[in-house]
């Protein structure tokens, strides 16, 4: 396949989301405004008002209703999208589980923002990290280009009949959502062809017929029934099996998209940056990776064997990929932009240390909690992290496995 001719638009992250949704032949958008997601719904409202999309836009009265309407619209057979942030995602919490439990392939942009209290509109990952166990596929984007590309890919991942799970695409509040970038966009017809029309899993209904899994008067199904100890457990297991199939689909969709766009983000699951011979490495997700890459370049120029592992797909967690990526690294700094209060480090740290226990490789693994509530994370802080790793290798000692960085002590 040839790489499509693309134009370059100046878009911020939110606009990149709205533009991708506009091109993806979405049937129903149901959303509620919340900073820093508002630009998405504003732009999309303009597309609707100007007749640029054939989409039912439901301007709901809360995020809870936003996702509730998306869920049933999806169950009725529509391709659906919503977007939220912070408190909005927290308000959706109950319906996040119901959406994945009903196997509704909803796509949602989460513009990552701190949770209250105290109220704060700026970026951290508290909002989506707390939802990591709700059976939504989670992709985290590094820049607005990736935001655009990931939203388009998300429809194909979610709606794959083997998966049929919702997908959230995380983009960092303000640093991506409100920052103008050059974004290459594919022609409308190319995106439309890529996303195609919605596909459905076929299931055996209660009347014994094999029917598409949707609310269809000709093939009645009951969705969301009472389901107790005799079947609930199997249904949860099926959900997990779909999750485990997702990495392959995410990579396939990513590869196919790369053929037409010319853009790759690692292998779609993780991105290795100078990891091949790295002795020390950071692990992070989201826009921070951009800063870390610059620091890695600076360190490499000084002859330091530094690298970065960026996790693009956090759910499902690409376990084998992460092990392989960190195989030769001697000291790893996991960067968490959220807190697990009372726990031992942040959510990403939990996963990385946990994975490596079984891997028969045991690098030093330390954790840095950074950037909460939008606190800036400049290059000098990242340098500090790599210096710590160097010191750990020299002294063969970890003084404090979990540290806070970039704040008043």
């Amino acid at each position: 396949m040839e790489v499509a001719k693309q134009k370059v638009l100046a878009l911020n992250g939110d606009e990149a989301v709205a533009y991708a949704v506009k091109q993806s032949d979405v049937d129903v958008v149901s959303a509620y405004p919340i900073t820093p997601q508002t630009i998405i719904v504003e732009r999309f409202s303009e597309y609707v008002a100007n007749g640029e999309v054939d989409t039912e836009f439901i301007c709901v009265e809360s995020e809870h209703s936003a996702l509730s309407a998306c869920l049933t619209a999806s169950a009725t057979g529509a391709r659906v999208f919503t977007a939220t942030a912070s408190a909005g995602l927290a308000l959706m919490h109950e319906i996040l589980y119901v959406t994945s439990g009903c196997r509704a392939p909803v796509v949602m942009a989460v513009v990552n923002r701190a949770l209250s209290a105290p109220i704060n509109i700026h970026c951290d990952h508290s909002d989506s990290m707390v939802e990591r166990d709700c059976s939504w596929i989670q992709l985290y984007a590094e820049n607005s280009q990736e935001v655009y590309d990931s939203i388009i890919q998300a429809f194909r991942i979610a709606e794959n009949p083997e998966i049929s799970l919702p997908v959230m695409v995380g983009l960092d509040g303000f640093s991506l959502s409100h920052t103008l970038e050059n974004v290459q966009v594919l022609p409308d017809d190319v995106v439309r062809k890529f996303v195609g029309t919605r596909q459905f899993p076929f299931i055996k209904g209660h009347e014994g017929k094999t029917v598409p899994f949707k609310l269809d008067p000709e093939n009645p199904l009951s969705m969301g029934p009472l389901d107790l100890y005799d079947y609930y457990f199997e249904h949860k297991r099926q959900q997990e099996e779909a999750m485990q199939k997702a990495p392959k689909v995410i990579q396939q969709v990513h590869d196919e998209y790369a053929q037409t766009s010319g853009r790759r983000y690692g292998n779609g699951l993780i991105e290795r940056y100078n990891l091949e011979d790295a002795e020390i490495a950071a692990v992070c997700l989201g826009s921070t990776a951009g800063t870390v890459k610059t620091v890695v370049d600076e360190l490499r120029a000084e002859g330091v064997k530094a690298g970065l592992l960026r996790i693009r797909t956090f759910r499902p967690l690409p376990v084998e990929e992460i092990i392989k990526a960190l195989e030769n690294v001697k000291a790893v700094a996991v960067m968490d932009r959220s807190l697990s209060f009372g726990g031992y480090g942040g959510a990403v740290f939990h996963e990385i240390r946990h994975i490596l226990y079984d891997a028969h490789i045991h690098p030093y693994v330390v954790n840095y909690i950074y950037g909460l509530g939008g606190r800036d994370t400049p290059r000098n802080l990242i340098h500090k992290i790599y210096q710590d790793l160097q010191k750990i290798l020299q002294t063969r000692r970890v003084e404090k496995p979990v540290k806070f960085i970039g704040l008043r002590e």
Partner: protein, 323 residues
């Protein structure tokens, strides 16, 4: 918009059931009767969405279902948002030619907890947005599914497990929220009240609600033998008494214009027909504590509030002069 369709007993009997037998509702369940009657009004392809509650629980348990039409339950407080999503999806998919080119009706069912209390925000929002669906509130006046806890729909003085008849407090101190009036105040095209005793009226109103273009709200009183503490063979009798004593008058508001329905209109025209509340209260164990010297004054209070609300309704129906 009005339905010219006259439902006869024969029509009702011959029309195939949508809510099949075999579900696990209690004997004498008012909501089960209410739903069955509403479903007799269905005119064609229909999708149903259901709030968490008694009827959701009794009508499904995987791998069984009592529903002959597409049906979805997601949560307690969001059934009106669910209806919004279904309606929007049907509209756009039909427009794009991705589903059969025919109209599909959407009906939402919820109990009093899912409507008066936890679901009122989603309901208010969906009605404000004007989605085309019928919302049916089956009101058994408490959270019966979880074991008879008081709701905003529980009447004054009723004993529930969270408003018990104590030695100091005689049941629920607060008054029932006038939910149907709240819905009329939204400026929606069709709001009505109905009782299973007046089955023909109930079906006709459900049909009008389905046929109206835009949101419709049907408030059905649905006595619960377990929660109201009466014998299971009294559901229909209680459904009649609650209308005759004007605790639950029957009316419609079409584009905000209130109009009494025949049984209540007859009382308005002939006030002697209006029964006192006492007989109705006496039939139900949830009011038993009121028939003691200590709390008897609560009965007077229930009579007072019933009369006051009835008079207010008559004014809205411009029938005050005849009352």
């Amino acid at each position: 918009m009005t339905s010219e369709y006259e439902f006869t007993a024969k029509d009702i009997v011959e029309k195939p059931e949508i809510l099949m037998s075999g579900h696990r509702a209690c004997a004498g369940c008012g909501p089960a009767t209410a739903l069955r009657l509403v479903l007799k009004a269905v005119r064609g392809p229909t999708i149903i969405t259901h709030a968490t509650g008694c009827m959701e629980v009794v009508s499904t348990i995987y791998p069984y279902t009592a529903w002959k039409v597409p049906w979805i339950h997601t949560a307690f407080e969001n059934v009106a948002a669910n209806a919004s999503g279904i309606e929007a999806a049907l509209k756009v998919l039909r427009r794009k030619g991705r589903i059969k080119d025919e109209h599909v009706d959407v009906i939402a069912f919820a109990g009093d907890g899912g409507t008066f209390d936890i679901g009122i925000q989603a309901l208010s929002g969906a009605v404000e947005r004007g989605h085309d669906f019928l919302y049916v509130l089956y009101d058994n006046e408490a959270y019966m599914n979880t074991g008879i806890q008081r709701s905003g729909g529980t009447p004054h003085g009723a004993a529930t497990t969270t408003s018990p008849a104590g030695s100091v407090i005689p049941g629920k101190p607060e008054y029932k929220k006038p939910i149907a009036d709240i819905m009329v105040a939204h400026g929606m095209p069709y709001v009505a009240t109905a009782s299973p005793y007046y089955w023909k009226d109930l079906i006709t109103k459900a049909r009008k609600g389905i046929e109206v273009d835009g949101p419709a709200f049907l408030h059905v009183i649905a006595p619960c033998p377990r929660g109201w503490r009466y014998d299971t063979d009294k559901t229909i009798e209680i459904s009649r008494l609650v209308v005759e004593n004007c605790i639950f008058p029957l009316w419609e508001a079409i584009d905000g214009e209130y109009q009494l329905t025949e049984p209540s209109q007859a009382i308005a025209l002939n006030p002697q027909k209006k029964k006192p509340v006492r007989e109705y209260l006496q039939m139900q164990g949830r009011f038993r504590h009121l028939f003691t010297p200590k709390f008897e004054k609560v009965i007077d209070e229930i009579q007072r509030i019933t009369d006051k609300r009835w008079q207010r309704l008559l004014k809205k129906c411009e029938m005050a002069q005849t009352a």
